[in-house]
């Protein structure tokens, strides 16, 4: 029985969804910036020390078995000549924003999925009335080459939904261009493993295997009822049934629910003063983003990873809204002090949740301490906007300016809108 619609057939409509994926993004951008690195193994890593890990490997490094997550010491063993470097987030955000502007010239129905991935829905675009989507993809590749960088290569996948477009983009790397339509869907699935499908990890693969599904073709041939009631035991089974046939089930935009930052400590420490300083700096970074996006928060969350790999975390709803860095830091310190046992910490993260827009603001007749603190926070943010981050810092953060460096968030794309706005202003 169908649940929402009976969709046994594969989606027969012409594919209108395009997925664009910048190949080995950070490493490729570094090779674009430095022509001497082109054709060489390059690893952009968290730290250049042997204990650091590779965040992005160039294709030359990937050919030697070096991938995201490979420790630097192993990367050096696999390729003694590898050039290891720290990330340069400003550069990557800039290339991302250039790519956004280029793609926006085709349609406004464009969603940045992360720092290196975009999805475009051409179903309402006039461009496809006169050109095939494949010829538009070829044009996009050519324009990227001439307008952004001659070393920048992208994989483009075209499909009838986001899932098939992304699958198509992963078929031939680097610089691929593939279309998955109703005509070749089964043939493409027959060349893939279950874990090649986006969203199927080894845990899900095992779940499919115990239900007699060993290949993507088996997955496609499984009945809707089996996926819903036996395999996934949730609405997810129904979604997979539709997703595999090219119907759109992934175009849900989730609103922002929290802001947070984390930090991996080079050498685990149980020094309370050092950890408090780090919490303050993370609170400042989180608070800056919270205020910039126009929110208050009503809850704080702290998590700690200890050097024995055990994990502790706690959330706390707050009666007063969290807005200033000091509010956030105070909430974090209170949670920190509730740890059952103080041990050496190797990684910590802070986040705030329960977001409420600051506009419209409830004005008070008389100034309270809270409203004064809010104004002080806004004034400090203005100074830091004008003269650079951390120009004014709380006293506890003195002497630690460079301790938490700017990082590129993986996956998260919610801050990208602000970045596009900023770069747009730079060029006006």
């Amino acid at each position: 029985m169908g649940y929402l619609a009976k969709l046994d057939e594969v989606n027969q409509e012409e594919p209108q969804m395009m997925h664009i994926d910048l190949n080995s993004a950070f490493a490729t951008i570094e090779q674009q910036a430095n022509p001497l690195l082109r054709g060489r193994a390059v690893g952009v890593c968290s730290y250049t020390t042997p204990g650091g890990i590779i965040l992005a490997a160039s294709y030359e490094a990937k050919a030697l078995g070096i991938k995201t997550g490979t420790p630097n010491w192993l990367a050096r063993e696999l390729c003694p000549d590898i050039f290891l470097m720290m990330p340069d987030p400003d550069k990557y955000f800039y290339v991302n924003s250039r790519l956004y502007r280029l793609l926006y010239s085709y349609t406004s129905d464009l969603v940045p999925l992360s720092i290196d991935e975009f999805v475009i829905d051409f179903s309402t675009s006039r461009k496809v009335r006169y050109k095939s989507l494949k010829s538009i993809a070829i044009e996009i590749k050519r324009r990227i080459h001439y307008e952004i960088g001659d070393w920048i290569r992208v994989n483009i996948g075209i499909g009838s939904n986001r899932f098939l477009a992304k699958t198509a983009a992963s078929l031939h790397k680097p610089n691929g261009l593939d279309v998955i339509s109703s005509r070749n869907l089964t043939q493409v699935y027959s060349t893939l493993k279950l874990t090649d499908l986006c969203g199927i990890n080894h845990r899900f693969e095992a779940r499919l295997n115990v239900n007699g599904i060993y290949t993507p073709v088996d997955f496609l041939n499984a009945t809707e009822e089996k996926l819903h009631k036996k395999v996934f035991k949730s609405i997810e089974g129904y979604r997979w049934y539709q997703r595999l046939r090219g119907y759109e089930v992934d175009c849900i935009e989730y609103g922002r629910k929290s802001f947070g930052n984390d930090f991996a400590i080079y050498k685990a420490t149980s020094d309370k003063q050092e950890l408090s300083q780090l919490m303050m700096k993370l609170s400042e970074k989180t608070g800056r983003r919270l205020r910039k996006n126009g929110y208050f928060a009503r809850g704080a969350h702290l998590w700690l990873l200890y050097d024995d790999h055990s994990y502790w975390h706690k959330s706390k709803k707050t009666r007063q809204v969290l807005y200033s860095t000091n509010d956030i830091y105070l909430a974090m310190q209170q949670i920190f002090n509730q740890q059952p046992e103080f041990r050496a910490v190797s990684k910590l993260g802070v986040s705030v949740y329960g977001l409420e827009s600051t506009t419209p603001e409830q004005l008070e007749i008389f100034d309270t301490v809270a409203t004064k603190q809010r104004r002080v926070s806004n004034a400090i943010d203005n100074v830091n906007d004008r003269y650079g981050e951390f120009t004014i810092v709380p006293a506890i953060m003195m002497q630690m300016e460079d301790k938490i460096i700017k990082r590129v968030p993986f996956g998260a794309s919610k801050d990208l809108a602000n970045i596009y706005k900023q770069y747009q202003n730079e060029y006006q």
């Binding site: 910036a33 001497l36 050039f83 550069k91 800039y94 830091n384 650079g388």
Partner: protein, 88 residues
């Protein structure tokens, strides 16, 4: 072994202003009594430090990689870093 030297020295730059291609294109610069001809610019991108807008130019003379920084407030050029020889 490649040596990346953080420099941050003010430098003399010969540049060309081109319509439609950003503000300026650096062609050659001198540093420590040596002239470097920029054969290929890899990437140019803006950064903001507070209210000051800088443009970063990364390029090579064929043997050396350099990162130049143009301060749009003071109209000054800085050599941020220089990498001697091919990466190894």
């Amino acid at each position: 072994m490649t040596m990346i030297e953080q420099v941050n020295d003010k430098i003399d730059v010969l540049s060309l202003s081109r319509k439609g291609q950003g503000i300026v294109v650096p062609l050659r610069f001198s540093w420590k009594n040596k002239i470097y001809n920029i054969k290929k610019l890899g990437l140019t991108h803006p950064i903001r430090e507070g209210r000051v807008l800088y443009h970063i130019f990364e390029g090579t003379d064929g043997n050396t990689f350099f990162r130049l920084k143009y301060d749009t407030e003071n109209l000054q050029w800085l050599l941020e870093s220089i990498t001697d020889g091919l990466p190894s």
